[in-house]
């Protein structure tokens, strides 16, 4: 009897084991089709968003999230994205993670969104450092990734097949900055042969920025000469040594490539040290509200090369500014929200064009995408070779009274570039 019972238990165990194995096998067999299966029963389209809402990049991260949230809200208000193979419109569902401005966390969260959450694509990666960390995940998990805030060319030069970016390369930022200064020489506002001092953040962003400036200067002999070029550490509490070296270089123009906090700290110490240059720029930072509050009039006449400006003379930009204001209660602060908004719109357009939630198809459609009436300069969102857009930069300049004018290129400008007399700086 006992033996029979034992045998029965063994039999039961065998049956349970066999059923479990079959279940696992079925799950395994069905796994590759999980996307299409979930697509067949999908109620929404999950999109991963990984951005910093805490840590040193929190503020730009927040602006970028607001841009994505607004785009998703607007798309969903129209019923969502039409998925042809399901013959229905599906709303976008945001799966958001705050990476805390931490590179390791950023990469881990992008992987989590792509694997556990099985999103159709991931948006995010604000700042070059965080974007670089995330950029290794898309090819590993074969999920499209659009960075909304990383622009270093090193990210897009590695031959990755699943990455895209709505920011133009940083070397173009450097090039446009020098080109703008050259236009001031041509206009007789600056002399030829002025000396330039460069202070660059010690990231690929800084390297690209410096290379862009030097490239333009090499191509246009006699305009400017770089007499000082050095990198600095992000988040340093003291720039007095670096600024002393800049001072000793006796340059006429000071061009730094800095993040928001470093821009505030460095410019504060710059003013305290009694330094003066004919023209000053902190790369893509300059018009931010936090900086103007922290530094007051000292930010007047600083110019910045940025990926987007609310002063662009396009009707869709005016609509976006109004919508953003209605959504957040304030106007966009610099360029951050617009490039993220465009990434979300571009992704929705690619899904609709592909007519499926299959990631490979979405990736292929992103490659072919040509989104008209884009907010970006040039009004077309198109991902170039390597996945990065190639839209032109615009130059804005802070003016007294908290005003910010778009001053370059000329055809889109709403204000004149000013070379302030020494007494006004």
């Amino acid at each position: 009897m006992m033996g029979w019972i034992k045998t029965g238990k063994e039999m039961s165990m065998k049956w349970i084991s066999a059923l479990a194995a079959a279940g696992l096998l079925l799950a395994g067999l069905w796994a590759p089709g999980a996307t299409s299966n979930s697509a067949a029963t999908a109620k929404d389209i999950p999109i991963g968003v990984v951005l910093p809402l805490t840590g040193r990049e929190a503020k730009p991260g927040q602006y970028q999230k607001e841009g994505i949230d607004l785009a998703i809200k607007q798309i969903n208000e129209k019923g969502g994205v039409f998925v042809r193979e399901l013959n229905q419109k599906l709303p976008l569902r945001e799966v958001f993670y705050d990476d805390g401005s931490d590179q390791a966390k950023s990469a881990g969260l992008a992987a989590r969104a792509m694997s556990s959450d099985n999103v159709v694509a991931v948006l995010g990666g604000y700042s070059t450092a965080l974007g670089e960390a995330e950029s290794v995940m898309p090819d590993r998990y074969q999920t499209p990734w659009i960075t909304t805030g990383a622009a270093a060319t090193s990210i897009f030069d590695r031959g990755y097949q699943w990455i895209f970016g709505t920011l133009s390369p940083v070397d173009l930022l450097g090039y446009t900055t020098a080109e703008f200064l050259g236009s001031l020489v041509d206009a007789g506002k600056l002399h030829k042969g002025l000396n330039v001092a460069l202070a660059l953040e010690n990231t690929d962003h800084g390297v690209d920025y410096g290379n862009g400036i030097k490239k333009w200067i090499q191509e246009h002999g006699g305009y400017f000469a770089v007499v000082f070029s050095e990198s600095f550490d992000l988040g340093s509490p003291d720039f007095s040594g670096l600024l002393q070296k800049v001072k000793n270089a006796h340059a006429d123009i000071y061009l730094a490539d800095a993040h928001l906090q470093d821009y505030i700290t460095m410019h504060r110490q710059y003013v305290q040290a009694g330094m003066h240059h004919t023209m000053i720029s902190y790369g893509a930072r300059g018009p931010e509200t936090d900086a103007r509050k922290a530094l007051g009039d000292a930010t007047d006449y600083i110019f910045a090369g940025i990926w987007w400006s609310k002063n662009l003379p396009y009707p869709q930009v005016k609509r976006f500014v109004e919508d953003y204001k209605g959504f957040t209660g304030r106007e966009p602060d610099s360029w951050y929200a617009a490039t993220a908004y465009e990434a979300a719109r571009g992704l929705a357009a690619a899904i609709e064009k592909g007519g499926t939630l299959k990631k490979a198809t979405i990736r292929d459609e992103l490659r072919k995408l040509e989104l008209r009436e884009s907010l970006l300069p040039g009004q077309v969102l198109r991902f170039g070779k390597g996945g990065q857009v190639d839209t032109p930069f615009v130059i804005v300049q802070n003016k007294p009274g908290g005003k910010v004018d778009l001053v370059y290129p000329k055809d889109g400008a709403n204000g004149e570039a000013v070379v302030p007399p020494a007494s006004q700086k």
């Binding site: 929190a58 550490d233 040594g241 505030i264 009694g274 509050k293 000292a298």
Partner: protein
């Protein structure tokens, strides 16, 4: 580099050293008496900065006065934290994992409270002093740095006076040397630990208020300063206030002047290298060198 440039850099380094010393002395005193590496120090620096900002924006209280007011308030807050949390950690002569985890957790909680209350904007205090400078011959001295340096140094002198001339100070020094002997001599160890933790947090709050006048800050504020505080107290010899002051001076001088021969991008490597060198070559820190010299004399 001419003499004027050298003098300017020296002044910058001295002003920076004063700030570094003020921000690390709170950590030193807590470590000395309780053998706790206060990772939450950065969180209290951040709260001190916001405290001074709120006083300035709401009641127009001068940030220097705000920093002074921060001290007693944060002292009480520190005593409360000790009573609620720190006293529950088992007493040890060495830093324990439990204390490290507790203080790290507390730092995260403080950071998140900061985000809940103040959001993630970069805030700053802009006064008439912020961008002005004094010119002494060829030397340029940023007014706000000087105005922060003076109270920072005064607070160190006051602390030294308290430690040398009061019963509390003598008790603290006794506990730093030998906790058990101190107890046998009749020092109320628990009470002293609570008060000392409060003093450490008081210094952190006041230092945060001073730093708020120099930098923009968000709830993430204090990260970079925490690392430097570590370097300073290790350089100083972990348990010595004047060692910490000397450590602050060495770090500030090395950071400032090394930029003349190295690119500014290597600044963090300099701090780390100093930490490694101090651990290998000077396990007793700068204070250890003086102690040896005294013994030989």
């Amino acid at each position: 580099m001419d003499t004027a440039d050298f003098a300017n850099l020296l002044v910058s380094a001295l002003l920076l050293a004063g700030i570094y010393a003020a921000m690390s002395v709170g950590m030193t005193i807590v470590y000395g008496v309780m053998k706790i590496v206060n990772l939450a120090h950065a969180g209290f620096l951040m709260l001190g900065a916001y405290f001074v900002l709120e006083l300035y924006e709401s009641w127009n209280v001068d940030p220097l006065a705000g920093s002074l007011l921060a001290f007693p308030l944060f002292l009480l807050a520190g005593m409360l934290v000790h009573w609620l949390l720190v006293k529950r950690i088992p007493v040890s002569d060495q830093p324990t994992l439990a204390s490290l985890l507790l203080m790290f957790g507390l730092w995260l909680v403080l950071q998140n409270i900061g985000y809940l209350v103040w959001g993630n904007s970069d805030r700053s205090i802009l006064t008439t002093r912020t961008l002005s400078s004094l010119h002494v011959g060829p030397i340029t001295i940023p007014t706000v740095r000087l105005m922060v340096f003076i109270p920072a140094v005064c607070s160190l002198l006051l602390l030294e006076f308290v430690l040398r001339k009061t019963w509390y100070g003598r008790a603290v020094r006794a506990l730093m040397q030998n906790r058990y002997a101190g107890r046998l001599a009749g020092i109320p160890v628990e009470k002293m630990a609570r008060l000392t933790f409060g003093v450490g947090i008081g210094f952190a709050g006041a230092a945060g208020g001073l730093l708020a006048q120099l930098y923009s800050f968000s709830p993430d504020f204090g990260h970079g300063f925490l690392l430097r505080s570590f370097v300073i107290i290790v350089l100083g010899g972990l348990e010595s206030f004047w060692g910490a002051a000397a450590g602050a001076l060495v770090l500030a001088l090395v950071e400032t002047f090394s930029i003349l021969v190295l690119p500014a991008g290597y600044q963090p490597a300099i701090a780390f290298s100093l930490l490694v060198l101090a651990l290998i070559l000077l396990p007793g820190g700068i204070a250890g060198i003086f102690a040896k010299k005294q013994r030989w004399a």
